[in-house]
Amino acid sequence: MTHYPYYPGCGLSPEGFGRAFDWSIKGVNKVLGLDFKEIPDWNCCGTVPYDTLHEEASFAICARNLALAEKMGGDLVAPCSSCYVFLSRTNQYLAQYSKVKKSVDEALAAGGLEYHGKVKVRKVLDVYVHDVGFDAIASKVKKNLAGLKVACYYGCQEVRPIFGRDHPENPKYMDKLVKALGADAVNFPFKSACCGGSLIISEEDASLELIKKLLDSAVSNGAEVMVTGCPLCQLNVDAYQSMVNRKYKTDYHLPVLFFTQLMGVAFGLDEKELGLKTSIVPAKKALAKFI
């Protein structure tokens, strides 16, 4: 069993909106023989709001998590795209700017911690694809998802800015994963376009327009289900789909799942364990053949 320190972040915490991502990761891990061990008492990465309004401390709060992970050893897995970007970015700035390093070292010392920059931050998809591999994943499939048409939605931060290991605009590894499960990855030119992110709250119109474009493209290309590896993408396209329908007079019912939920289905895991019912647009019909 391979161990990784694990940073669920607020979205995947027990009260978070992406809790089903956490459940399904754990379910899939059991099948794949991986162990993600939660960092004790982690804190929020701060993401964009903290970076913009508390820029002085934004690196330090990320570094606290990295320091805690460093004690555990191994690559840190951060499923949420935003957590992943901000934690990775902290590593980058610590290495690039001595003044950031100095400030962060001092701040961590005030909390009795130190960080030596040794933690590599990775995404779940990256770990599955590169450490486990498509063949090993395919070998665990119990219910081949043949015929299921899937739009792989990477979102922005899975592959950008530069931390990812796939093409920043035309990534392919989620598509390959979905194919390893037996399903079809449909052509989806918006696969790495933005869903509006957290601006869905403050700039609703702008974000709804972006979500509509995603739905237009996925559905017109025949997708029966969309999968993603980002909790915010999942939330936006799932929970705000009804608002898009109301605003644009459309009638979309595209289930949006975490890719780990789809893996779980193919691995024959229990629907409850995967939290399929937390999806607001029900996935039951699309997955009826497989569950």
């Binding site: 978070g16 309004l53 401390a57 934004s58 709060i61 950008r160 800015p161 607001i280």
Partner: protein, 188 residues
């Protein structure tokens, strides 16, 4: 000793790590051409850069442009001068909020403030209570429109009334770290 140089706006930006990229922009507009929100901005990302370099401090800091940045990083991967434009937008937001000039034509700063309050107090974010706080501050009318979404999130167990908090010792440690970082002015 040479006379102390007056700090210009561009110096202010360059003092923040990542801000110094602003100097090498060639104004090609690739960022704007790639930005999903450019049409809604009063000033496009490259325009903000040009204005900042012209010393138009108040105009830049009171623009809504940077507050509409989605942090999608498309501009960053395409920029021919490898400028981390997303970071630059965050730097402008930071300076804008600090100067009290932030645009009234976007409620993003209010949302961000509410978000950050949770980090300082509990170490983690509660999506539900953050949204409640936001709509309380920006107008309940908008909140009514959001009710169906909120309700569906509830019924699907996507949000909780309960707040996921860190342990008291953890919060104390985090607060000590934040306090130290802020008192030393971060990396400036």
């Amino acid at each position: 000793m040479p006379e102390a140089k007056t700090t210009t706006f561009i110096d202010e930006i360059c003092a923040i790590p990542g801000g110094e990229d602003i100097r090498v922009c060639i104004q090609c507009g690739t960022c704007t051409a790639s930005c999903p929100n450019a049409d809604r901005m009063e000033h496009t990302p490259s325009h903000l850069i040009a204005m900042a370099r012209a010393g138009m401090r108040d105009e830049v800091l009171s623009s809504n442009g940077m507050w509409l940045c989605l942090s999608c990083y498309l501009c960053v991967v395409r920029c021919p001068r490898d400028i981390k434009i997303t970071r630059l937008m965050h730097v402008l937001e930071s300076l804008s909020a600090r100067a009290g000039l932030n645009s009234r034509r976007t409620t993003t700063p209010i949302m961000y403030k509410g978000f950050n309050k949770y980090i300082t107090n509990t170490g983690r974010i509660s999506e539900l209570w953050m949204m409640v706080g936001y709509y309380f501050r920006t107008g309940l009318l908008k909140a009514i429109g959001m009710l169906p979404v909120a309700l569906s999130l509830f019924t699907h167990r996507r949000v909780s009334l309960k707040i996921d908090k860190m342990k008291p010792e953890g919060i104390k440690q985090l607060q000590a770290i934040i306090e130290k970082a802020e008192s030393s002015g971060g990396a400036r």
